[in-house]
Amino acid sequence: MTWSEMQPLLEQACWDTLYMVGWSTVIAVVGGLPLGILLVLTDRGGLLQNTVLNKVIGQVVNIARSMPFIILMVALMGFTRSITGTTIGREAAIVPLAIGAIPFFARLVETAVREVDGGLVEAVQSMGGNTWTVVRKVLVPESLPSLISSTTTTIVALIGYSAMAGTVGAGGLGDIAIRYGYQRFETELMWITVGVLAVVISLIQFVGDYAARGLYRRGGQSGAAPRLRLLRSRAAVNSGSEASDDTDSADTSSEAPKAEVGKVA
């Protein structure tokens, strides 16, 4: 296979991948963000404590996450047809991709939102804010750097899943690597595809990290980019645990390092 033969193939595959991953990411964020926040709010001690609802959502998320993507795709065929009118092609692949990514993203959101200092929630409550205010003014903005990192992780995972979308004729880079590279022994094309995927993923990771870090630099306290987290993990643990229960004990140590790191960051 010559480069001139490969080029249009790769170009099309790139667009297919971006199209599928792009849309399913949008849907995953729209669906997963409220779900993740709801998981935190309905948990024991949460603002909307509801053990039953929490367990139900948790179980649904677990089941959805434990399903291999290829099975999910087949299992969802009827649902996919009812939405897109077809079970073949890029649009048809978006449905299972998005549905597979929603619970994945929801768990990441849950972890990110849980990191937000409970004291901030208390502060907003003491000002007379309701649950919606807490979500809008505290939980989402304060965990934004982590949420962006989570979105990056989700996009990268979706690119991986999308390789299997080839089985429903959706195309994409992964599909090229499997069909041409692996099944037709076009080793060269396979490596090129893998190379392109590597570049795409690195690029996404870079942009994601940059965005998260930019926000972290501005804010400097909760929801840090992972690398900076290590430096200030102790301070964060201290203030977090104390805010949650009885705040009687004095803690002079946690303030100084926090401010320090904030400045360095």
């Binding site: 208390e122 003491s126 007379g128 501005r218 400097g220 104390e242 009885d246 705040t247 009687d248 002079t252």
Partner: protein, 363 residues
Amino acid sequence: MHPCPAHTHALHSTVTETPVITTTGLTKVYRSRGREVTALDGVDLHVREGEVYGVIGQSGAGKSSLIRCVNLLERPTAGTVTVAGQDLTALAGRGPRAGKELRQARSRIGMVFQHFNLLSTRTVQDNVELPLEILGKSGKERSRKALELLDLVGLTDKAKSYPAQLSGGQKQRVGIARALAGDPKVLLSDEATSALDPETTRSILHLLRDLNRQLGLTVLLITHEMDVVKTVCDSAALMENGRIVESGTVTELLATPGSELAAALFPVSGEASGDDRTVLDVTFHGDAATRPVISQLSRTYNIDISILGAAMDTVAGRQVGRMRIELPGRYEDNVVPIGFLREQGLQIDIQGHAPALVKEGAK
């Protein structure tokens, strides 16, 4: 022990007899895994308008639960909370969520926290504007009010900074400005100075004091530091095991024989130098504090008095304190001089005699 000259020159606080915060039979029981922990056990608290009221106690005494019950961040298991004439426990409803009326009432109660609880993603000004956003004020009004409050706490130049760029004391000033945004009559301070160094603590306490005087703000603060009570409080309560063991104005407490709080506020020590000596703790409060009673005593009865220890301070603008003195001779020999001191309106506790009994009785 440090005298606080700033107080004596500043305005006196205008404490009225109107109760602003009243709790009756406030009880909070935490249940976890079948175990019950009583954090508050029938607390009756009376905070008068315009005073700085300090609740002091050790970790786990229930102070945090108490202050959180005042604006119902914690739902009391039993009892009532009334703030500015409004029964908050009645507004609370049954569910765990705060209804509209309770939220409105909360917006009129400011609160500052030990760990400041500022939003890291907002600038200082935006942090102060947050309560105003919740109150639905317009953008213009918000920034005007926020800048005004930042000026009040002395942080005008930091309006565009982020909390991470501020020192602990500056963060707490922002916290205070934010707490004042809703023009509250009452400010709750939850260990506001516990994460700060002594110097910063003093400046924050003075700020609270000034606000108390300038705005007529009633302040309820909890702390585990006796110094905080001494520096700013008009009244204080001592908490132990979820109960208020002692309470009253600082002068009243001082006048209470065997008061633990008074002993902690004005600690005096010193041992008798011999067997045939009488050791007295003299408590000065009110008018007697201004008269030279010790030298009068010495002259009138021609006795030598040694001062073993003393703790004098200006509390709420008045000279108060305690002094431990030693008189020659046994108690029996000193009945007359002691009578003289009592006649002067001083409170006398004789060491090694009555006080021990009184103290046990008080507990």
